[in-house]
Amino acid sequence: MRLAILFSGGKDSCLALERTRKLEEVVCLVNIKSANTESYMFHTPNAHLVNLQSEALGIPLFVKATEGEKEKELDDLKSALQWVKDTYDVEGVVTGAIASTYQSIRIQKVCNTLSLWCFNPLWQMDQFDVVKEVIESGYEVFVSGVFAYPMEEKWLGRTLTEEMLKELCDLHKNYGISPSGEGGEFETTVLDGPIFKRGIKVLKIDKKFKNNAGVANIVKTGWKI
């Protein structure tokens, strides 16, 4: 089956992509670039990096810009999926959704309207297991944003490791932070991993942190040798 991946560039998208590639044909990545930082559906820091990630993965990318207005952004998603369906002869769409019924229901509805299959290969996974699998598989995951107390500025720009997973376990126990960031507590950008043909190197970042929220914008990159 020819499939498109809804690709944010984060760890869940990459794991979903890896699982999909083992079973079906991935013909393109679709990124919805939201201007709304409050969007529950699509906003991610370092969205500009998806072009590099697409190149590193060797998979074509289609980017659709959206103002990110609630529910209207779904019209933009629909037009993006219609475009890849027509252009790449795509039969279905894959997401990295784990537990959010808010996102899942909306994407299922859009896919259904377009008669596209919808696949969620991480659906209902234990969120610790997701992070563990990402680490053990060898992905280099950069923490690009934190949006929940008590996650502090020091988290920005860190790389996901076993040690960090332990800290996330503590945050989960004490503060209810989702270990995979499923509730939007933190966002990630994947720089390298088993499905990457080339690794991305971060050369310069610009951190902004205020009122228990912040982002680590990657402003300069290179290729790993």
Binding site: R19, I105, W117
Partner: protein, 182 residues
């Protein structure tokens, strides 16, 4: 205990298996024996203590044409739980009709009998539903129709929603019923 977790998806080891089969197997735990519907035979059924027929993707309707599965389900006497597509096959096997009925998302559910616990809201993902005939009792309903049904005088149930999302206790309660019956 040996629970057959039946993969109802369009093919064995499909991408949909992650979404509709593994979460159920995860709830069942060590008792789960996953098998694709195309591989079920009388030996497997004989060795089982119960069977769960999983759901499948919205665009997948291959299961409806699986007459082999429907016949096996019809003859199966042990505890059974059919989920979404699984409920459709379960009801079809016992003379009910599959109808067009689209529900995508959460909806409120009214539990009438709590055999499988109380469900107040549930996650739906289907384009087809069932019109259960009079061999079934409705244990829970919503605006669209029956949400949990029980086959008369049997520990066999169908749920139209996906209990692996928000209502895991339904599957656990089914496992308790099997344990009590052993």
């Amino acid at each position: 205990m040996n629970i057959l977790v039946v993969d109802m998806c369009y093919k064995k080891d499909s991408l949909s298996g992650y979404e509709f089969v593994r979460p159920i197997a995860s709830i069942v735990g060590d008792f789960a024996f996953i098998v694709h519907r195309s591989e079920i035979d009388n030996t497997l059924l004989h060795r089982s203590d119960g069977m769960i027929l999983c759901g499948t993707a919205l665009q997948d309707d291959e299961y409806i044409r699986d007459e082999h599965l429907t016949k096996l389900v019809q003859r199966y006497e042990k505890p059974l739980l059919g989920i979404c597509a699984g409920m459709q096959i379960f009801c079809l096997a016992h003379g009910s009709t599959i109808i067009e009925m689209e529900e995508i998302g959460m909806s409120e559910v009214n539990t009438v009998h709590d055999d499988l616990g109380i469900v107040s809201s549930a996650y739906h993902l289907h384009k087809k539903g069932v019109l259960p005939n009079d061999v079934f009792i409705a244990l829970a309903k919503n605006q669209a129709g029956p949400q949990i049904v029980k086959l008369n005088n049997k520990t066999q149930y169908g749920v139209m929603f996906h209990p692996e999302v928000r209502n895991c206790h339904v599957v656990k309660k089914f496992l308790d019923i099997i344990c009590q019956g052993r």
